[in-house]
Structures are given as C-alpha cells and as structure tokens.
C-alpha cells in the first residue's frame, strides 16, 4: 500500500492507481472532460490538474500514478483558477443552447461559467436514427474517436486538421448515417457535451429512474442500466463494471428497445371465435387454456400435447414451463428454440467432455494467443464479443476465421478459410491430420487426459488437407497454416456459431472441433476451450432449466435426475420419451399431436419448411400462444396470452458462458400483460395443480430450482445482487467457475477422441438449383424480427436481402436492389437482391426476419441426425428474374 496525502489527509492506496483513480475512490470529484475509465488516459483537456508537492507545475491526475509519500492538493486556489480559465476557453466556442444533461455542462455550472458559452450554433446532423450530431458543441476531448477505435474497433470517427482547426467527422465525409458506424452508441455515451447525444433523451427527457438488468437480445449477456421516465424507457446505458460487456453495448442492446412500447403490442388476453379474435378477461383466457389442454389430454393422452419454452423468458419461467409439462400435462414433450440452434453444441460437449456448455469464458478472449472463429459472424451477431475479439486481434493476437463469407472479422484475420457450407467436418479433420502428421499435438495432455489416441491417429491419417481441399473449397496450404497456428500459438480458443451446428451433421461437426482442442491440449486452460456463442439471451437457460424432452433441470438425463426431482416436486416425472420440436411438428402432420402451448417463440416464421409447419399447426386441435405480439404463430392459435417483456419483470437469464445474471423490473407491465411465470402458475392452478405452483415471486421459483439443480445450488438472489455467477457453483461459498475441465472431465480423467466421418448433405447443388443458400441474422435485425422490426433499426435494414456475389449477379444479369424469385426444392419467396463482395460466387446469404419475405419457406427437411436441429445453413436454390 502507498501512503498518500490528499488535501491534508493521509490515505492508503494500492500500487498502480492513478491520482484520479485514487480521488474517485475516496469520493473527491474534479473535472476531467477527456477522461473515461474505459479508455487509456489522454491528458488533453488538462482539467484534472492537481498540485503535487515538490512539482513546479500542476500534473494531470488522469495519467499520473500515485507514489508513496505524495502530497496532493485538488482544489488549491491557483488550481481552481486555472481550471476556470480552461473551462472558459472551452466554453467560449460552444453555442448557448446545449444539452444540460451531459457532464460537461454540470462542470460549467459548478464553476459558474454557463454564461461563458457564446459560440455560434452549428449545423446539426440529424441523419442517424439514434444519435444527434452537433459538432459546434464539441470540446475536442476525442472521447468519441478513442472509444470508437479502442473499444468498438470501428474507426468511424476521424480527426482532421490540427490546432484550433481540429475537427471530428464521420468517415463517410457526408452524414453520420452514411458512415461505417455500427451504431453501438459508445460515442454518444462517452461524449461529455451535446456534440453527440442520444436522441431519445432529447425527445422524451432524461431518465428519472435507473434499473440494472441484463440485455434481452443475444446470449452474450451484457448488463445494462435501463433509464425510465414516466414508465417509459428513454435511455439504456451499459453497466461500467459488467464482467461481460465492461461498459459497452451494441446497437440492439442500447437502442432497439422501442418494441416494448410498440403500438401493436398485444396486451389483452384473447380467444379465437368463429368471427375472429375476441378480447377476454384473464380469468376466461386461463380457463380456456386449462379447458383446451384438459380436453386434449382426455381425448388424445399426454403423448399428444406439448409445451415450447422460450429462450426470451427467464430461467424461472422456463423451469416452470417444463414443470408444467411434466407435472400438469404429464408429458416430456417440452422443448425450446435451443433445438434449432445450439442443441448440437450442448450434445457434443456433453457427450465428449461431460458438460453441455461453453468450456471457457469471454474473459479468456484476452488471454488467448490464437482465436479460432468458426461459423460465427461475431461482430454482427454477438457484437460485444466481436468487439472484444477485434480489439484483441488489433493488439496482436492471431485470428483464424472459418466462414464461407468474408465477414468483418475475416478482414482482420491472420487466416481466413472460406469453407463451403456443409463441409466443416472434412476441414476440421484435415486440420487434425496436420496436427497429428506434423506432430504438433500436446503429447503430455494426450497422455494424461485423452483416450482413443492410437485409434484416432490411424483414422486421421487419410484426412490430408490435399484430400479435402476441393470438397471444402479451401486451399490445402491455408488449412495447414491454420492448423499450425491453432496447435502452436497457444493458448488457442475456439468460438463457434450456428455455421457449425445447423447442419445434417451438426453435432458431429462440433465433436470434430472438440477433437482439435483435445489434440492440442487447448482445454481446461485460460485462453482456450470450445465455446458455442449462444444465440439468444436465455437459450442456454431455457434448455438447461429442463425445456428439453430428454433432460431435466441442469441438463441431467431424465433417468438420472428423476429421483431428486420427484422428491422435490412431490409428483412423478413422466416415464416415456418426449418429443422435441421437430418431432412434435412431424407428429402433428401425421395427426398424432394435438395441443401445443408456445411461449415467446415464433415457430412459424423460424422453423424450416414454413409451409409444412403451417400445415402442422393447422392440424392441431388446440394451440396457445403466449407472447408480446400477435406473431405469425399466434395467427394460428386458439388462445392468446399477453406476456410482458423482460423490462417488466424480475428473474434471471443464463448467458453463453454459464453465467446466471439478474434481470430486474424497470417498469410495470404494459396494459394487461403478465409475466410468463404468473401465467404458467395460473394455468397450473386452473388445472388443479396449484400446490405444485405456489410461487409469489421469481426468487421463490429460483429457490426451488436450487433444490433440483445441484450444480447451481450455490447461486442465490442475494449473491446475484452483486454480480452474476457462472455455474458450476454447488455451494453458497463457491465463487463460481470460469473454466471447465481444469483437472478432470465431468466424465472422468480422460475424454475420448472421436472418429468423425463426413456424410455430405443431401441438399446438393444441381444445374437446376446452382446456388448454396445459408441463412442467419444480422447486426440490425434479430432472428424473427419480432423485436427489432419494431424499432428504428429498420432504418439500417428495412427488409431481408439476398446477398450474392457481384460475379453471380453479373452472370444472371441482376442488379442490386432488384426483386427476384428465389426458389428451392421446398418452396419459393420473393426477395430483394443485394450485391455483396463478402459472398463467394455460387453461394448466397439471407436473413429470416421478415414475415413478408418468409425465408423459411425455402429451407428443407434435413436435420442433424442426433439432435434434429434443422439444416438451415445449406439450401440449394436458384434465382429467377422477374
């Protein structure tokens, strides 16, 4: 500890603190206009100057480290005078009308200098939907420029000229909207003046109340403070010390919240009658739901009914959804949208390593020397993780990108392997071949922790890079180089997305990726591991809480967990095997599945083969949809139950690195909407199971979860109030687990290498269907656009586009912006073409956001043989000019 005297008082601080950090720690506030804790000290504004005994001139507190015996004066008269002079200089060029909510104006007010502002008003750039730009209020602290470069890595803001001619401009040279900006909003958040400001606070006023919660979009799990005013969200800002996002957010998390207040938000319970939807009371709606299921159970039995939990709902609610399925409906027919995304990851990781979740954490990114990104457009779909990877690579780490498209990360990658869709297994096998043949494997690790080595070694011999190069569309040399980096520049961490899992061999693709980690010892260590990037806020939690036909809470196989669960529930767990989502749809088509309760999940828009899904839905006798909106699926329902958003309730989400985090109610439910858990409890009671569903709060539900989920038993709401906790966390004293498999695997000392053969997809291109289409999401539109389509994000992406290479467009005589018919063996849609140099000739990409495009009319029936996850990433299509 260092002894420092501050304003005459002796204090102690740990080594490494700057003076400003020391002052902040003891609650002394001094102006510091160019300081932001997320950035390196800049020392430009000079306002944080303090007097240090023995120094001829004041020093800036932001960059000067404290030293033992230092004596600091923060408000000596001459220092205050100098601050006032500097503030007056800064103020004099600013126009008088300004945004008083920003910190710099508070500073001027404190020094009585508001009247010093007498600069001319400047031109306002109003082009961006979320951020107003008025550079006449700029004080050249460069916080926007620095946060754009050093946190987001985008370099959108540029500094031109020098001296008092210095100007900050977007890189478009024109408007901010036309720039390279990804609308993360960090610049507006850090800007201390009104130069860059969130338009929402100009329109609706500044927040009266802040509520700390967790982002409702992707599975990264960023923590955010939601600012509300008169029951309306007016601003969202990142939590500065959040473990995942560390003071950063993306365009969706920060700005795309208007869906909460959307005009078409469905806030009344409704029942379908012969003349259409009829608004009813909750009592009637609950009764209708109970009646519908009771009747279906009576007529068709528990094998013909099912429940779909929601990746958007909380852990508590998903826990109750599966409990309702099993206890009230007596069925294991319960699933969630994990089925259509990372079920293969969970299955593969569970099978080989013993735990079906990411082995490492996002904090391992900065510890990795090599990062292998597979089938994930990270900067768009998990933007905060994408930004962290980007920063780490810009600072010198190796990056290998395996993706058919030249995605943003590919642009800064050490090696980009543009693999042909559907050929991940040959590619991973070839990398394994190089690692084995060139003896780059980790001998010690294999000896101690790996089984099946000799067998695998023989198997992999024939998988030479040369033998797969033409299958994968990747040069053998590139595969060799990538394998060498992964095996030698260690620790190496893999992160993967749905480009690996949504294939007919999805689970085995993940297994072949795990093989690479086992061969090279990149597991159970910091900066390493195999890490699925979970797509939705709580998709990890939905399946983990038991919305899974074959597993109970904690992803415990039913037979293994039955005894404990039955004891806690005081009710039996059904014996026969449940149906997953895909099987439910098939059964419905065949007439053996009759009643379904769909919670927060638009299956009609997102399931493959939309036309068949529609038929299946229509063939069911009773469908309940519980959602915030009348989505596509709801149009086929018999009862509609209005659920509220995550902003309107309490609970927990589980992010992609196994971290359980609180969500907190920022505002009361809108209209007559209710939390999912309240609705589920009400239906259970109406069906005579009240004693199993006597919960008054989300926390009470969590307490029951702790009883059935041993691995998470140490996680309590009291602990979560401070920070999220990563399971395994078996006791209340346990700190949580950042890295899995450190000394041993869940399954024992060794994990076995698996021989994975390649079975090509049935979706082959032919002369008739010459293009390979992959689908996915984008930065601005999220999955089914239920949320993002109801926000100004539509300014950035108003519709689904078919991205094709300029080469193909040229050959087909198509121009960007042209409307075409896109046809597969399974259906056809009309869609607008966009030319993208990121897409290779012979391939195509689109999102599946828009109900009026309906991309999933094209996708086919193939599914992963193990988990039944649909093969969204490979569809043979052709473009027809209109």
């Amino acid at each position: 500890m260092l002894q420092v005297t501050i304003n005459g008082q002796s204090r102690e601080f740990p080594d490494g603190y700057s003076i400003l950090q020391a002052l902040h720690r003891i609650g002394i506030d001094i102006p510091a206009a160019c300081f932001d804790e997320r950035l390196e000290p800049f020392g430009g504004c000079r306002l944080c100057l303090v007097a240090v005994q023995g120094m001829a001139r004041p020093v800036t507190a932001c960059n000067t480290p404290i030293a033992d015996g230092m004596s600091i004066e923060t408000h000596a008269p001459e220092i205050e005078q100098e601050r006032r002079t500097l503030l007056r200089l800064l103020a004099q060029n600013m126009p008088r009308h300004s945004v008083p909510a920003k910190e710099f104006y508070g500073c001027l007010r404190e020094y009585g200098l508001e009247s010093a502002m007498h600069g001319p008003a400047g031109a306002v750039d109003d082009s961006h939907p979320y951020i107003r730009v008025d550079m006449s209020q700029c004080i050249a602290c460069f916080r926007c420029v620095r946060i754009c470069a050093d946190v987001q890595g985008q370099f959108t803001w540029q500094v031109w000229n020098r001296g008092d001619k210095t100007e900050i401009r977007p890189d478009s040279g024109t408007t901010f909207l036309e720039s390279s900006c990804v609308s993360c909003g960090a610049c507006a958040h850090t800007c201390p003046t009104g130069a860059l400001v969130d338009k929402s606070i100009l329109t609706h006023g500044i927040p009266q109340k802040w509520t700390k919660t967790t982002c409702p979009y992707c599975g990264v799990g960023c923590e955010m403070n939601v600012g509300t005013r008169d029951g309306r969200i007016v601003q969202i800002v990142p939590v500065m010390d959040a473990p995942v996002n560390k003071g950063h957010l993306c365009v969706k998390g920060r700005y795309a919240y208007d869906y909460v207040h959307a005009e078409d938000r469905a806030t009344e319970p409704m029942i379908r009658t012969s003349t259409g939807w009829k608004v009813v009371s909750w009592k009637e709606a609950i009764a209708a739901t109970a009646h519908g299921f009771t009747q279906a159970l009576r007529e068709y039995g528990p094998g013909a009914v099912g429940v779909l939990g929601s990746a958007r709902a909380t852990n508590e609610e998903n826990y109750l959804a599966q409990k309702l399925a099993r206890v009230v409906l007596g069925t294991n027919n319960v699933d969630s949208c994990a089925r259509v995304c990372h079920a293969p990851s969970a299955a593969a990781l569970k099978m080989v390593l013993g735990t079906g979740a990411a082995t490492n954490s996002f904090d391992d990114i900065e510890q990795a020397r090599t990062i292998l990104v597979c089938g994930s457009n990270t900067t768009e779909n998990h933007p905060i993780v994408g930004a962290r990877i980007r920063q780490h690579v810009l600072r010198g780490a190796n990056l290998i990108v395996i993706d058919p498209r030249q995605i943003e990360l590919a642009e800064i990658a050490t090696i980009h392997l543009p693999v042909r869709p559907g050929t991940n297994i040959p590619l991973f096998n070839a990398m394994a071949n190089v690692i084995v043949e060139e003896r780059l494997y980790d001998q010690d690790f294999i000896r101690a922790r790996v089984a099946g080595w000799e067998d695998y070694r023989r198997f992999i011999q024939e998988w030479t890079p040369e033998s797969v190069a033409s299958i994968c569309g990747v040069e053998a040399d590139l595969i060799r180089r990538a394998a060498r980096f992964y095996a030698t520049a260690k620790p190496a961490m893999s992160v993967h997305g749905l480009g690996i899992t949504e294939h007919s061999q999805g689970t085995l693709s993940v297994v072949s990726l795990i093989n690479l980690a086992l061969l090279t010892g990149n597991i159970g260590k910091p900066g390493a591991g195999v890490n699925p990037l979970r797509g939705q806020n709580n998709v990890q939690g939905a399946a983990h809480m038991g919305c899974e036909p074959n597993h109970l809470t904690g992803f415990v196989p039913i037979d293994a967990g039955r005894e404990l669960v039955q004891t806690v529930w005081q009710a039996p767990v059904p014996k026969y095997k449940g149906l997953d989502l895909m099987q439910m749809m098939e059964a419905a088509e065949k007439g053996s599945f009759e009643a379904l309760w769909v919670i927060g999940y638009d299956i009609l828009l997102t399931n493959p083969q939309a036309d068949r899904t529609l038929e299946a839905m229509r063939s069911m006798k009773f469908v309940v949809v519980q959602d915030m909106f009348m989505n596509e699926t709801a149009r086929e329902a018999h009862v509609f139950l209005p659920a509220c958003s995550s902003m309107e309730k309490d609970g927990t989400f589980m992010n992609g690195e196994r971290r359980v985090q609180r969500i907190r109610r920022a505002m009361p439910p809108i209209g007559n909407s209710k939390s999912d858990w309240e609705i589920i409890c009400a239906v259970a009671k109406a069906m005579g199971h009240g004693r199993h569903f006597e919960f008054e709060s989300a926390e009470q539900i969590w307490e029951e979860i702790r009883k059935v989920w041993k691995v998470g038993a140490g996680i309590t709401y009291a602990r979560l109030d401070h920070a999220g906790i990563q399971w395994p966390c078996p006791t209340e004293e346990h700190p949580g687990t950042r890295i899995l498999h450190e000394g041993a695997f869940q399954t024992g000392a060794r994990a076995a290498l698996q021989r994975v053969e390649h079975v090509p997809s049935k979706e082959m291109t032919t002369d008739e269907f010459p293009l390979l289409l992959t689908t996915g999401r984008s930065l601005f539109q999220f999955n089914a656009g239920t949320m993002t389509l109801r926000t100004p994000n539509v300014v950035f992406q108003p519709t689904d586009y078919l991205d094709i290479s300029p080469d193909d467009a040229g050959r087909l005589g198509i121009v960007g912006g042209e409307m075409v018919t896109l046809r597969s063996r399974h259906g056809a849609i009309r869609i607008t073409v966009r030319l993208s140099p990121a897409v290779r000739p012979g391939e195509a990409f689109t999102t599946f956001t828009m109900p009026d495009v309906y991309t999933n009319r094209l996708t086919g029936p193939e599914v992963d043989e193990i988990t039944h996850t649909p093969e969204y990433k490979v569809t043979a299509v052709r473009i027809e000019k209109e």
Binding site: F42, R57, C62, L86, L89, N161, G163, D164, G396, N398
Partner: protein, 458 residues
C-alpha cells in the same frame, strides 16, 4: 505475437501535416526570415501568400530565404577544441571502442560526461540512457530527432550534411549501450539535401546495425518527441501524456531512447576522448560545447561551435560580428518559443541555468537577432501565429489559448488581465513545450518590453 499496426485511414492524418506534396518552391516564413523581411520585402510578401505556411527551411543565414537557395553558411570552431565539428567520416572507430566495453560502462561514461540533451530541454543524457538500459524489454529502439523545427536553427542540418556518419555512429553506440536493435532517424521534410546525404551514408556504413530514415510531412510539433513517435507509427502526431515516458513505453509501446542529432553527434567524441576530457569543457552545469547558428542580420551569419560559459555578447559581437545594419533590439535564443534576451542582458553567460535565470533558454541553439525594424507587437503577432498554426490541438490551453491570443491581437478583444490569465494557464497546464514556450515568450516580452506590449490590449 504479431505486431499489428492499427492503421487508420490516411487522409485525416495527412490533413494534420502541411508539407506540400510536390517539389514546389517554398518560401520561408520563419522567425529569422521574418526579422529580415526588410532585406527582401517582395519575397516576404510571397512567403505570406503561400497556401501552406513554411516556418523555417534551415537557411536563416541567408534569410529571407527560399528552398531553391543552395548557399551554405560559414562553419567555425570557437571552442578550445572541436567536438561535434571534429570530422570523423565513415570510420566507426568510436563504435568499435564502445563495443569493446560493456553497455553499462558506456552508460556510465555518458553519465560522467555530464552531457545534456541538445534538443532544448537539457535533460541529462546519461540519465535517459540509463532509464532505457534498465528496461527488461527485448525490443528497444533508438530514435534520432532530426526534426529541427525551431525557426532560427540550422545546426542539425549542417551536422547531417557535413558529417552524417557522426550521427550514425552516435546512434549505434547508444543502441549498444541501451540494448536497442534498430535506429530510426526522424528527418523533417524540409531537409531534402540532408536526406540524400544521410541515406548515402547509411548505405555505405559498414556497421551491423539497422538504420531507417522516416521523413516528416511538415509539422513543427513533430519535433516534440512523443508527437514524433506517433508520426513514425503512422498515427496522428499528437503529443502523448507523460508518464509513461518514452524510455519506458515509446515507439510501438517499446522502451525508446530519443535524442536529438547534436546529442548523438557528441557521443563518439566522448567515447574516444573520455568523459573527463569532455566534462572539462564548458562551465557550471553546462559542460562541453554547443553549436549555435546565427541569423542573417549578423555581420557573420553562420554555424559556430562554442563552449558553454561564453557570454552571449561575445557570441553576438565577436563571433557574429554584431548587426550588419541598425541597432540591436533583442536576441531570440533557442527558437521563438522561449524568452528574449534584451540588449541590456547580453553579458549573461551562455548556459542552461544562467539563461533560465533571465527567462530565456539555450533551447536548440538558434540565435536570431532582431533590430528596430521589427516592432514588439509585430514580433508577438509573428510568434503567436506560428504557435497557433503549429499547435497539435490536443490540449485545451494550447489549442484554444493560442488562437484566442492571436485573435485578440487582431481585434484587441482581450484585456491585459485576461491575456495574463491565458498566458498563465498555458505556462502551467500545457501538455508540451509548445504551449509553455509561448508563455515563456509572452512573459519575457512582458518583462522586458512591457511598454510596447501594452498597445496590444483593450
């Protein structure tokens, strides 16, 4: 780890610099040319109408000057012995001598010589070398600051043109002493002849050490060491905050020794003749010799090696031969961003602390005399315009303060008290020597020419 340079787009960074793209003729607007404008009013007028201003071409002995002028100055030794001006040519004897000793010993020798940096601040060179020597990093750099931007100085230019190997030898010795693997010379864009000569010398130097010349693009502030490092890295050349100091985190974040050309050029002599011999030259806390450059208003403009301790009057009158015409109004030593020496204080000995005592500085060693054809108001306007034009814009006092001062000279918008308030803030809170130098200049003017200055205020 792969060293990835974050390369931001070029156009915004280019906009920071002002050096013209083509080989077009440049006419100098530096302080020496300004005070000599009466000698060629038409040329001066042309200088003022150039699209991009040029502050100093290093031809102050022929001011007012232009880039096509190929004349060379008088070069003479006026110290007991030639140190920097002892021509060594491509023999790297001093380097071989140095390498026969331990690096630690070389650092000790430089410390014992009491050599101080010749770039302006006069920081003890040995202490700086020790700081880099001490760093554990396996990658270190030495950087020669050849961005001699102070108007009035043509010292480094002539060293590089006359005896380039002296600089290279000094750098190689320094690299050996501190453990650096590469030497970079940051050379200002205006010195085209020096560039060609240096490049040729690098090509013919028979030493196993890598040199690289990085050329500036026109910016005075790039002579500030951290701005220079940013410029070398391809970044916007703003001044960095210190700490961390370049000795710890310099070029590409590696420990870096930055010295100016004359400092490096002194090193071979110290190695060859021993630190005690060097220390015996000079006086007080200013040991050894210094090169000084005299502007065109002197009877004998040129470059002279003198020993510290000699009175300024002797430099001006005996060596420089007094003014050609007119009567002396003051002497600007070490660039315009420092105090002025009025005629009454010419007997002050030439030394770091001695000049500091009268509000002036050794600075870079340029000596610009001015006569009564230049009014104080004109001089103040010239210097402040120069400073405002060259400010990097990072820190508040220099970016806005300079501009406010310049504006007030045009429209008399400031009261004396407001002027003083800004000057004081610049003196105490500026990030680098540009802002503090302006304050030193202004304070000196106010001290010695207060009456004339009064006409500038409301």
């Amino acid at each position: 780890m792969r060293l990835v340079q974050r390369i931001p787009p070029e156009a915004p960074i280019d906009s920071f610099y002002h050096h013209p793209e083509s080989n077009q003729e440049m006419i100098c607007q530096g302080t020496a040319c300004f005070v000599a404008r009466g000698l060629n009013p038409r040329l001066w007028e042309q200088a003022c109408f150039q699209e991009k201003r040029v502050y100093c071409l290093g031809r102050c002995y022929a001011a007012p000057s232009r880039s096509s002028d190929e004349s060379l100055p008088i070069v003479e030794v006026h110290s007991r012995c030639a140190v920097v001006m002892e021509r060594i040519g491509p023999s790297y004897e001093a380097l071989w001598m140095a390498r026969s000793r331990t690096p630690g010993r070389i650092v000790e020798d430089i410390e014992a010589s009491e050599l101080r940096g010749r770039g302006g601040a006069g920081f003890p060179t040995g202490r700086k070398w020790r700081a880099v020597h001490r760093q554990p990093s396996h990658i270190k750099y030495v950087v020669a600051n050849a961005d001699e931007g102070d108007p009035g100085a043509f010292i480094d230019r002539i060293i590089m043109e006359d005896d380039p190997h002296r600089l290279l030898a000094g750098m190689a010795i320094a690299a050996y002493a501190v453990g650096a693997s590469k030497g970079i010379i940051y050379l200002r864009a205006e010195y085209t002849r020096a560039h060609d000569i240096l490049q040729k010398a690098i090509n013919e130097a028979r030493v196993d050490f890598e040199f690289q010349i990085v050329r500036g693009h026109g910016s005075y502030v790039c002579g500030e060491e951290t701005a220079m490092l940013n410029s070398i890295e391809g970044k916007r050349p703003e001044v960095r905050t210190r700490p961390p100091y370049p000795t710890e985190s310099g070029l590409f974040g590696r420990p870096t020794l930055v010295n100016n050309v004359e400092t490096f050029a002194t090193v071979p002599w110290i190695i060859q003749h021993g630190p005690e011999t060097y220390r015996a030259l000079g006086f007080s806390k200013s040991r050894g010799t210094k090169l000084v450059s005299l502007n065109s208003l002197f009877g004998r403009p040129g470059l002279y090696e003198i020993e510290f301790g000699i009175p300024v009057r002797r430099i001006c009158e005996e060596i420089g031969g007094g003014l050609k015409n007119g009567s002396l109004r003051g002497v600007i030593v070490g660039g315009p961003l420092a105090g002025i020496i009025p005629p009454s204080l010419l007997d002050t000995p030439f030394g770091f602390e001695e000049l500091q005592g009268i509000g002036a500085a050794v600075g870079h060693g340029g000596i610009v005399a001015f006569d009564e054809s230049t009014s104080i108001r004109e001089l103040v306007e010239h210097v402040l315009s120069f400073a405002a034009y060259e400010s990097c814009g990072k820190c508040t006092p220099c970016r806005i303060g300079n501009a406010a001062l310049v504006r007030s000279l045009q429209d008399r918008s400031l009261k004396r008290s407001q002027w003083d308030e800004i000057i004081s803030a610049m003196a105490r809170t500026s990030l680098c020597g540009l802002g503090t130098g302006v304050a030193e200049f202004a304070q000196s003017v106010s001290r010695y020419y207060g009456k004339e200055l009064a006409s500038c205020f409301r």
